[in-house]
């Protein structure tokens, strides 16, 4: 009898607001819940609640799996009615978790300059990537984070990020911390320091930010992996709801849940 994957039930250990509308949920998971690779996500529902009906895709922000203990952390922003329900959950409440799902970030060999570009809640999948890269790669490889948000108080987890990344450059829309303006412009100003043949970029953030990264790299061909978002239902490639448009004329759509959520930036049509 083969063992089948299943929908897991997790119990909330804590769910606290770390910045305005930004929450960190820590969940005790059964041992059978697999280790999530950086960039992979889970679909989250509230157990025995009719709303939200569909699971919400959230990146796995951290995971501690050893012995019988298996804890995951999710960092999410209240973006609509579904995540607003999540924000009300308390320690001891149960959630249904499907995952880990999707294809995460992949390592690119032979690159010694690694750049992470995060916009807002886009830090969620990049934080575990930074930790993993720092652990795996020799110290000669530099890891630079460009992290932007609307205001200073929305920049979260800086302490941990500084441990993984040699350089942390911040940007805020209102100039309350670091560079005033989009994080992409901050990065653009430093572009000359990153030789394309030695550099790799990982980015996650709002669509407009990723689109801008794609424009910046248009005349500076650094390989770049981006993690994208789309409304999602099944999470396993069956419903075709989470389509993203690609430049492949023969098969114009890819599934964010299966072929993604991480894509090569050049694959995607940035409208």
């Amino acid at each position: 009898m083969p063992r089948f994957r299943k929908l897991h039930t997790g119990q909330i250990l804590s769910n606290r607001e770390v910045a305005k509308d930004h929450y960190r949920m820590s969940i005790a998971m059964p041992a059978a819940f697999r280790e999530a690779a950086p960039g992979q996500f889970v679909l989250v529902r509230v157990k025995d609640r009719a709303f939200p009906f569909l699971g919400r895709p959230l990146g796995v922000y951290a995971q501690e799996k050893r012995g019988g203990e298996n804890q995951i952390e999710l960092l999410y922003r209240v973006a609509g009615r579904g995540t607003a329900v999540f924000a009300l959950l308390k320690k001891g409440d149960f959630v249904e978790i499907l995952g880990p799902l999707g294809r995460g970030f992949s390592l690119v060999r032979g690159r010694d300059r690694i750049v992470l570009i995060a916009g807002g809640i886009g830090i969620a999948p990049l934080a575990p990537l930074a930790r993993m890269l720092r652990k795996k790669l020799p110290s000669a490889v530099t890891l630079d984070l460009y992290y932007g948000a609307r205001r200073a108080d929305l920049l979260t987890g800086l302490g941990t990020l500084r441990k993984s990344c040699g350089t942390v450059r911040l940007a805020t829309d209102d100039g309350s911390r670091g560079f005033r303006g989009p994080v992409t412009e901050l990065f653009d100003g430093e572009l000359k320091n990153y030789p394309p043949e030695r550099t790799v970029i990982y980015a996650c953030g709002p669509h407009t930010m990723l689109k801008r990264v794609s424009e910046i790299l248009g005349c500076h061909p650094i390989p770049c992996q981006v993690s994208v978002e789309e409304r999602m239902a099944c999470g396993v490639g069956a419903c075709l709801g989470c389509a993203v448009e690609t430049k492949d004329g023969g098969k114009p759509y890819r599934r964010v849940c299966m072929e993604g959520p991480v894509f090569d930036i050049n694959e995607i049509v940035w409208r």
Binding site: K6, L54, E96, R231, C234, A238, G241, C242
Partner: protein, 307 residues
């Protein structure tokens, strides 16, 4: 297996199912997507995503939107086309001992017949479910599904080119669904399945744009269940061929209500999205119910509604 276990076999015309729990087209991919979650051999039947003569790219995103108790979708019948289906998807399913029902659709009578004919010759296809009810493409069959005469014509056209059992999948977006079911029966259908999705719409009030790129989409999930159940009730009274109940079945209780109302089998659709193991949970739940009610055969339950 102990003697206590009730008999679960049901017949959809000539098609014998080991139990009445099937998947609904478009919610279970080509089967492979759920193979790591569900023992496909335990399904009554597996209905794959709608197949057309040529591959279709589907609609631009956003394609889905959650609503209270369900969701809207406008996928646009994205599929690999019949040739690639037979070449790339069907071999995987042949390794399983589960009846494979292929959902088909076309933009013309000729296209319906061509796809049916090709699939009728393919090894490992056990029945066809003919979609005359997709609301999400210009010519997704809905034009056939709303007109009694065309309903009958499509059924005859498909019937004429294949020996496979033919199931006609009906749309709820009509005034009298029973009339259309009778036309399918007259055309030679082995069964009818209902309902497909209800056409709906949702608006982003901040941006003042529709949530779906195609503006309207098909509503599914628990929210449609009472409508689906009512329509199954209307149809079972009017036709003598088997009726397959579809629409918002999430829990065992939902499936039981359809069976009691007279559906010979049920299809689990949107529920797969929130619980990949939904079909198995429902199957076990039906068995438990039969035992609790002292029934030795699920057929005792089917159509047992007292009004």
């Amino acid at each position: 297996m102990s003697k206590m276990n009730p008999r679960m076999e049901v017949s959809i015309g000539r098609l014998k199912l080991r139990n009445p729990v099937m998947t609904a087209s478009g919610t279970f991919g080509y089967g492979e997507e759920y193979a790591s979650f569900v023992d496909l051999n335990r399904l009554g039947a597996l209905v794959v995503k709608g197949i057309s003569l040529e591959p279709r790219p589907g609609n631009p995103p956003p394609r889905i939107m959650e609503t209270e108790g369900g969701m809207l979708n406008a996928i646009g019948l994205e599929n690999v086309g019949v040739s690639a289906f037979i070449r790339d998807k069907l071999p995987f399913l042949r390794d399983y001992d589960v009846p494979v029902i292929v959902n088909i659709f076309g933009e013309s009578l000729e296209e319906y017949s061509r796809v049916a004919e090709i699939l009728g010759r393919a090894r490992g296809v056990h029945a066809l479910e003919v979609n005359i009810s997709c609301p999400n493409v210009e010519k997704g069959g809905l034009v056939f599904g709303c007109d009694p005469d065309l309903c009958c014509e499509v059924t005859r056209a498909v019937r004429a080119v294949t020996d496979l059992p033919v199931i006609m999948k009906l749309t709820p977006n009509v005034t009298d669904i029973a009339e259309l079911a009778m036309c399918c029966e007259a055309g030679g259908a082995d069964a009818v399945s209902l309902i497909n999705t209800l056409i709906g719409m949702s608006v982003d009030i901040e941006r003042r744009v529709p949530h779906l790129q195609r503006v309207t989409g098909g509503l599914s999930g628990p929210v449609v269940r009472p409508v689906a159940l009512r329509m199954v009730w209307e149809v079972v009274k009017k036709v003598s061929i088997p009726v397959i109940g579809i629409g918002g079945i999430v829990e065992t209780e939902d499936a039981l209500a359809f069976l009691i109302t007279g559906a010979k089998a049920v299809q689990v659709g949107t529920a797969n999205f929130i619980n990949p193991g939904a079909t198995m949970d429902i199957l076990e739940g039906i068995e438990t119910y039969l035992i609790r009610h002292g029934m030795g055969d699920v057929n005792e339950l089917i159509g047992s509604l007292e009004v």
